[in-house]
Amino acid sequence: MTTAKQQTAGAAWWRRNQQTLTPWLFLAPGVLFFLVYVIFPIFQSFGISLYEWDGLGEPEYVGLRNYGDLYWEFVDRDAFFTSLKNNLVWLALYLLAIPAGLFIALFLNQTVTGIRLYKSLFFFPFVISQVVVGLVFTWFYDPTFGLLNILLGWIGLGPVNVLGDENYVTVGIIAAGLWPQTAYCMILYLTGLNAVDPEQVEAARLDGARGRRLLWHIIIPQLRPATFIAFVVTIIGALRSFDLISIMTAGGPFGSSRVLAYYMFEVALSEYGFRMGYGAAIAVVLFFIMLCFIAYFLHSMWREEKGAR
């Protein structure tokens, strides 16, 4: 008798509160996982960067010395600033994927037979893993049999060992990365072009706008959402560049193709010794570079959210 009463009381309570409680029950597993594996580790890394630690023994508190070492220790400084410089080169050159993607999208935005298949095949490089892209391009650049040097040979230019030359290596790897990234931007723009308002285009044409002016004043403004996503994924891709460097050069020659993401891994988890604290300090620097962009992305999304309601 009493249990039945309790049950109905419980049910009534649940009915009253279920709208408040349900979202939390649904959120709990996802949020918990995300906190443990993503959010807490960010702060843990901040902590670890204040210690000297080989990953096994007792960590020793060193304050900000790891950050000081980035600048003051001679060998480290060289490696750190090369990586930082290469990160900037990556950011600048990787953005070329956006205009390149737009260009290919405009080229393919026609309705001829088989165009769907062409679009899919142009998109192909993005689906392949970066590891395979890296291998493919390593062979493409190979000084003895690579396709690149054969092509250069035809126009009378001598063999270039792209991945063995400090001056070309980073650009060579970025070119490999641009291949899939351009494909990604292309698909974003192809979907965007589908949504362009044909009436506006016709009206602009009647007013005598054509070619580049039409593209710049009518089409590109309408492609804004696509451009925003292309920008986000390209920036993130540039700062996450790791796979290609690891596969194609392992940071070489003489560390000249390192970026922060790769240098951090090398310091913390490779034959150079397990310098977890120092690695974490590099990761923190990379994190703050990324944070500038994350803040911008979130700000844009926030504004859009407000506009939507």
């Binding site: 408040t20 996802g30 443990v36 026609q110 001829v112 965007g192 285009v201 951090m264 988890l269 990379l286």
Partner: protein, 282 residues
Amino acid sequence: MFPRPIQTASRPARAAYQAFLPAALLLWLAPLIAVAIFSIKPDADFATGNYWSWPSSFEGFTNYGKVFLESDMPRYLLNSVMITAPTVIGAVALSSMTGFALGIYKFRSNHWIFFMFVAGNFVPFQILMVPVRDLTLELGLYNTKTGLVLFHIAFQTGFCTLFMRNFIRALPFPLIEAARVEGVAEWRIFIHVVLPLMKPAIAALSVLIFTFIWNDYFWAVVLTQGVESQPVTAGITSFNAQFRAAYHLMSAGSIVAALPPVAIFFLMQRHFIAGLTLGAVK
């Protein structure tokens, strides 16, 4: 439509476009075509420096046979499947729940939680590397597929939540209100009203996450070591060490490793592209 439809152009312009299309495609895919040709060439062609001429004999079956029978490649492929499949299921399950909570209910911290997922999804992997590796070691899951799967599920939940939440927000809300008026419990609304409408989003995310996880290399290197747990992206480096300078086999191996996501893409293209545009570009 922009650019002007080619049908309205002059006849020679149309012919030029039709001819230029395949040429441009060949150029675009040249590095890949080269690898495909390498993978069916005989060993002897490389020994004699005969890299770019027509294959002197067709050795596709021999080369791919070797990849499957004389290397660890099948094992790596199996590992990849056993890492990718649970991740897809886990991330989609968790994020349909979080997406439902954030998309349907209005409560004060809703936006904060949403932006936490979005921001976390953008952070560089390196800032997570040392703590996640430690956590995995402490749980006794280092060098296991489970360790890798748990991390992947957690991380992908960020992106998936962004996607699911936006998708659910676009659903007709009166449907849910109608169900509430009828006195349907909230969890039943999720299962019987919202979930059936989410099929396209679930399909899009599944193919997308499949590709992301199959192609992951960084976490495979950080959290696994040996043939018993490494996925194919990490395994291919040991494969290449085994067949050093045997370009025909390395090419065949690369193609085998790259093929599953390619196949998925061609089978589920529409869903894949819907996912890539984050649902923001219609």
